[in-house]
Symmetry: C2
Subunit: 490 residues, 2 copies
Amino acid sequence: MNKDKIFIYNTLHKKKELLEPITPGKIGLYVCGPTVYGEPHLGHTRPAITFDIVFRYLKHVGYQVRYVRNITDVGHLENDADEGEDKIAKKARLDQLEPMEVAQFYIDSYHFAMDKLNVLRPSIEPRASGHIIEQIEMVQQILEKGYAYVSEGSVYFDVVKFDQDFGYGKLSGRNLDEMISNTRTLDGQDEKRNSADFALWKKAAPEHIMKWNSPWSLGFPGWHIECTAMSTKYLGDHFDIHGGGMDLIFPHHESEVCQSTVANGIESVKYWMHNNMITINGQKMGKSLNNFITLNQFFTGDHPLLEQAYQPMTIRFFILQAHYRGTLDFSNEALQAADKGYKRLMTAVATARELSPTEGAENIGIQKIMDECYDAMNDDFNTPITIAGLFEAVRITNSIKDGNLKINKEELTLLNQLFQAFVFDIFGLLESELGGDDQLVDGLMQTIINIRTEARAKKDWATSDLIRDELAKLDIVLKDGKDGTSWSKK
Amino acid sequence: MNKDKIFIYNTLHKKKELLEPITPGKIGLYVCGPTVYGEPHLGHTRPAITFDIVFRYLKHVGYQVRYVRNITDVGHLENDADEGEDKIAKKARLDQLEPMEVAQFYIDSYHFAMDKLNVLRPSIEPRASGHIIEQIEMVQQILEKGYAYVSEGSVYFDVVKFDQDFGYGKLSGRNLDEMISNTRTLDGQDEKRNSADFALWKKAAPEHIMKWNSPWSLGFPGWHIECTAMSTKYLGDHFDIHGGGMDLIFPHHESEVCQSTVANGIESVKYWMHNNMITINGQKMGKSLNNFITLNQFFTGDHPLLEQAYQPMTIRFFILQAHYRGTLDFSNEALQAADKGYKRLMTAVATARELSPTEGAENIGIQKIMDECYDAMNDDFNTPITIAGLFEAVRITNSIKDGNLKINKEELTLLNQLFQAFVFDIFGLLESELGGDDQLVDGLMQTIINIRTEARAKKDWATSDLIRDELAKLDIVLKDGKDGTSWSKK
């Protein structure tokens, strides 16, 4: 492993660049987290797993990583407008919809799902609602520097002035003039000087539930300011990596560039990383398309589009089979293939632990595979190429097991290190779904089947019958076939 | 079940009172949660489980409960004073200690431990650091009403004035005059008018890391104000139940009474509930006493005072065996006894599901047990009396299984409903630690032991040896004793 050779595709410059940390030995990583007003779904998995791999790999090669992933809980839930503000104010607190209760429910759901996918918790998980002061202070800074204006109790970022002084569109490539000429001024937008301006603070309508006092109005922060305020607070005004889905490049991340350039006097982010999207059977995911699948539905199989339940590790492995910048299409066939591949890999990992070395066996190139895996990860976290390397190791493992290949002691140690490093530490795959008690049950059943086979060979029908009866009590049935005896639960 | 008959011991009036919700059908419940600057330990379990039972029971009888449990993450971590403020300010953000990273680590640890204990997540889990605006606003209200004063950038609550107007010490029974005469004025306390006054806002020393701007200073909120601000925000200025450990009555909860009386114009809390403390081998728990045991140490057995690892459900059941207002002493003997009781209960629960009814069997009093269990829970959540009722049901279950007692169909249904309601829904015990694969492994091992016993009876040493060898491969050893053969993993 060589932590001085990691290349990252930087969306800002549209090319791969050598990772050179701002503070030696340390990495500040900020990733846009979930908006917690709905069940965690397939769309949440890709950024979560992509940046989990980045987090794990950077730690693996020796960096101290502070990973901040926010929670957007400043929602837009509204009280029933029919009731009118006065009536609502008179209602008991417990009779009112509490947006934080909704947010908490989905935060917990998100955590439970991410735990199942073995996504590590970030170092800090700040909530937007918990950083209103920091956001107000940043809006004040932007106002003081002259790149924002107050209008009817709201505050807007002045994109035209920013464009003149700093140039707008560096990250997304959008051209401001085109943006403006393509937008008609809409009713209700006349608070803004220009259609391209975006809100830093919004005055709340009476029915809007989540609101705070500010110098401008009782209101709530604009969507973009939370990430700039929280990344600045926890990582400083200049930090290494900012990640998120490609769909966030415009307008969210472009607006972050504007905000930090003015408030911090610097473009805060050195490397911008964006994962590509997930499609389902070739279509974009969406509630209106009836192909919106929650993670719980994947885990239980309870959705018309799913032929079966899928284990969390199958989904994790499936996502790792594609490079994070490539598209990824979910289908039952693809998931079933991923499941087979995952099981084949994990079986080989278990097999490798039990192999015996052969003294004086010739070198069979394990170090080369190890180097190729690190090279792939250093090349913009190329997990599919890394997986190809691991399957070369799987092939070798199975050949040794079958007696067609020999391995010496040093290389056997290295083979096991390779699996430990990439399968568990870096890819974060779990063995437990195959191993643990399941493995013990398999072992005990094999023991019982062996005893029965011996007994039958000796024509000891009493023992053979006893075994069948005892297993029946446990709802286990044996089936004798030409390849031996198999078992199943009733 | 009768939700109109729940009596709660109200610390405020030192007697049991009928629970009459402020808003019909709804309960607002606030509990003081953990301070997240250390590993979750035994001391965290008792309030968490006590109020988990309250939460579960109130929901079980049909209330809609909004349960708010805060996280105190406004810590007192300090930067290295030797370095001086200027030097620290020049350091890169990633080189500085980030208290939120420490807090996040312990929040996650707390959640993982509570999940293992099957403690439900509260409806809302607000963090003190996320509600600075609300706390500042409440301090401003108290200042405006004349019950607080600013001194050297800090704000103090004027306890003497409060005592004159409202009477101090209602909850704790403390007498203000005695408190004052017992306290000598200490150096550095001269900011306060009176030794009994407590801080609402503290100006931060330069080395203090967590600090926010306020009208008075760059500082941080006093410890007591967070609970009043957050309970008011999420439950309203008058809510049903406030819980916490007895050690919080003074000064924390007494100060909350002062704050809410002034800020909200009302004593916010209708019923104050306090759980008693846990001792270890008769001693108070404390880091200096070497008897400080973290939950992880309980789960792994890795502490000099522990003779073995204890499963989370053993700890949960142990806590339920005592009434929440009684003391509870942890010892290996007591935990081992709890483990046996828990397993006996769960075995009977599984047995009851398999029982067959006898047509025309006489009534054996299951409804009476059910009524007694509800009566016990209605009597200030008396879990030990409820457990006594459940063990009466266990005795009956085992008698039916052994053929010494018969049960009719209606009562068998009721028996299973009793176990479902109290063991799972209300007590939140889990079956999985005994069931599932563990049960299958036990069954398979018993099958193998039976075959071996048969083989040895027939002097079939070949089969007996084969079994021993096969099990050895699975790291399982058999031990023959006078009560038969037992097995264990190496």
